[in-house]
């Protein structure tokens, strides 16, 4: 079964991901890179705060991991509809309501740290629904690595690709 998803556009292709892992591991015995689509609750935050130099407004993007509820601010991104097989998708565990609370907390913490002030920010959150990020699983019978299709960042996986 397949269904269309809003996927964050990335530049790292399956070939790029494989090459990247091969370069670092000096290994030729890699399996072909497998795509996996990972869900996030997306929010757009409009924040205002009174500062010494007047009222400041900030626009931020925030993504909340729909599997385990971790939040992070994000660079602006674009999405496009893409059809993915159900076997390539992770199923979200976190409700939009829970994600909303996490997003508020994440944005507030981030602003305080970045603007170097301790303040209760006025944050208006606009939910943008689920967006999906494509990851590549690259590896061999010895190890496997997760590669982010948007920036090429890597993380080891415990399970083997082979």
């Amino acid at each position: 079964m397949t269904e269309p998803l809003y996927v964050i556009e990335g530049t790292v292709t399956a070939e790029c991901a494989s090459r990247q892992v091969r370069d670092l591991c000096d290994s030729d015995a890699l399996q072909p890179a497998q795509p996996i689509y990972y869900p996030y609750h997306a929010f757009r935050a409009a924040c205002t705060v009174a500062t010494l130099i007047g009222r400041q407004e900030r626009q931020l993007h925030c993504l909340v991991d729909a599997m385990n509820g971790q939040g992070a601010t994000a660079e602006p991104f674009t999405t496009r509809l893409r059809v993915a097989a159900a076997s390539e998708q992770m199923q979200p565990d976190i409700s939009p309501t829970a994600a909303h609370a996490v997003a508020r907390r994440t944005v507030s913490h981030h602003l305080g740290k970045a603007l170097r002030m301790i303040a209760a920010f006025d944050i208006k959150l606009e939910a943008e629904g689920l967006v999906w990020k494509q990851f590549w699983v690259v590896g061999s019978t010895q190890y496997s690595v997760l590669v982010d299709s948007t920036n090429g960042a890597m993380h080891p996986l415990r399970s083997k690709a082979g």
Binding site: Q56, A153, M154
Partner: protein, 522 residues
């Protein structure tokens, strides 16, 4: 001081705030947002400068000058160690700590300790101790700000202190940094040029260094010796060692300073940062001590020796320049206080309150806890600074000795000694902090002729080694930590098998995908 000084001081602040306001109005806020929020990668120059200036503004402009004024060239023992503090810190733990923290996915220096020495007790003790001692650094900045404000404006000290505390609070609660972010670099340059100008003006006033030293010898020849006024420290090598060590190896034990290593854009940034640190320190570190020494001649009988640099500046610099330099110095002191308060508030709310007291705390509660703590520190600081103000020098030496003694072996062994384990680290922190604290509190330095920093570091090191070895079997260092320590020792890119959450990202995704993949296989 003259009205011209005050006019230029005010002019400076008006211009700085004006630039901030103008930049925001023009919509530069979006750029600044990227500048502030975009996970700014910290290059070698910024690493070197922030390493030195993170908590030292008040000390350099008041404490160092005061020591030079009181003890003559003995003060140079502190400068002699401090010049190498940056490069020593960067060369010994810089690269490895940057790499290790990336592999462990640690974002703060307290979290780093907890991940290297897995135990909630490590985080709890390190967090409490750091909050307590950073409070002392804040106190030093408040006193420095109050004294400077009183001198420049001529208003009474209690009111000047209240204004200084008020400015710091407004700064912390209302985004003062936002207003001055555009002028940060400009401010550093004014400060550096100003300090060098004071040195040159002092030397010129006294007819050069040789003539000045001859004149000091005529006042009291012991001021030229390495043993202090009236040879008060003669033969006290334990005290000399403390003076040399406190700002050389001491840096490696400051959680709020070593955190800069973790923000370096590359592990190899430590190389260039080391060079910048040495060059900057060669000029900047001895200068305040030297001005203090020269002030013995320029301003004999000074009531408050810690005001030596400000007083010399007021006397020798053109009024307009004094106004600008004082403004830059005061702004740096306020900025340092603000930065320390933010770190203290953050550790108290995130590392302690949310972690150990109320894991479900709302954002409002967190802000409340941070603000309440900052207010408590400010009020206590104001009262202490008003009723019986200790010397800035004394406060900084106390806080540095205890922090350095508590954390130095923990941070150094974290990257260099595979056998350093959790009980060893805990014992080292507790013993080091206790010995240095008691040594200071009971005044044992005078009777034993050993500096608190020396006894603190030696005892915490012995505790680390002894307890780690004794408990090696019951609390072995986890295999994954040993593996990443070996990798941190090796020079080269981190292999993907060991790369943890780079910048804290992807760790949670990887865990969820791992679970999903293994379920599918089953």
């Amino acid at each position: 001081m003259s009205s011209t000084v005050i006019v230029f001081l005010l002019l400076y602040y008006v211009v700085v705030l004006g630039i901030g306001y103008w930049a925001m109005r023009r919509g530069a806020g979006e750029d600044l947002e990227g500048f502030l929020l975009g996970g700014r990668k910290v290059g070698p120059m910024a690493t070197a400068l922030t390493l030195q200036s993170t908590s030292m503004s008040g000390y350099m402009f008041l404490g160092a000058g005061g020591l030079g004024y009181l003890q003559g060239y003995w003060a140079m023992w502190f400068a002699a160690g401090d010049i190498g503090g940056g490069v020593l810190n960067l060369s010994i733990i810089g690269r490895r700590m940057r790499k290790l923290s990336q592999m462990m996915g640690a974002l703060t220096s307290i979290e780093y300790l907890e991940k290297r020495y897995p135990s909630a007790a490590v985080r709890l003790f390190a967090g409490i101790l750091t909050v307590f001692l950073l409070g002392f650094y804040v106190l030093a900045q408040l006193i420095a700000g109050g004294k400077g404000m009183a001198l420049v404006t001529g208003i009474p000290y209690p009111l000047a202190l209240a204004i200084a505390v008020g400015i710091v609070l407004v700064y912390t609660f209302m985004g003062g940094y936002l207003a001055v972010a555009y002028t940060d670099f400009f401010q550093s340059i004014i400060m550096l040029v100003g300090v060098m100008w004071i040195v040159i003006a002092s030397l010129s006033e006294l007819g050069g260094l040789t003539a000045a030293n001859d004149a000091i010898a005529a006042v009291d020849p012991t001021l030229l010796s390495v043993w202090g006024r009236d040879l008060g420290f003669q033969g006290q090598w334990g005290v000399v060692a403390g003076a040399l060590l406190i700002f050389s190896i001491g840096y490696m034990g400051w959680p709020h300073v070593v955190t800069r290593h973790m923000a370096m854009s590359q592990p190899a940034t430590a190389r260039k940062a080391g060079v910048y640190a040495t060059v900057w320190n060669l000029f900047f570190v001895p200068a305040p001590y030297l001005v203090g020494i020269l002030a013995i001649l320029i301003l004999p009988g000074l009531e408050d020796p810690e005001m030596a640099i400000f007083e010399v500046a007021g006397l020798l610099l053109p009024a307009a320049v004094t106004g600008l330099v004082m403004a830059a110095i005061m702004a740096a002191i306020m900025s340092t206080a603000d930065s320390l308060l933010l770190q203290t508030g953050s550790i108290a709310s995130r590392d302690l309150y949310e972690r150990f007291i109320n894991p479900q705390a709302s954002e409002k509660q967190m802000v409340l806890v941070s603000r309440a703590l900052v207010l408590v520190i400010a009020v206590i600081g104001y009262l202490v600074a008003l009723i019986e103000p200790p010397s800035v020098f004394g406060i900084v030496i106390f806080a540095t000795s205890v922090l350095g003694s508590a954390f130095l072996p923990a941070y150094v062994c974290a990257v260099w000694w595979r056998k350093a384990n959790t009980p060893g680290a805990l014992a080292s922190m507790i013993v080091g902090a206790s010995v240095a604290f008691l040594w200071e509190y009971l005044g044992l330095a005078a009777s034993t002729q050993l500096a608190p920093m020396l006894t603190g570091v030696v005892s915490s090191t012995v505790a680390m080694i002894a307890v780690s070895l004794l408990t090696a079997k019951i609390a072995p260092v986890p295999a994954d930590i040993l593996q990443i320590m070996d990798e941190a020792a090796r020079v080269g890119p981190i292999p993907p098998q060991l790369l943890a959450a780079s910048d804290g990202a992807m760790g949670s995704e990887a865990a969820a995908i791992d679970i999903a993949l293994s379920k599918r296989r089953d």
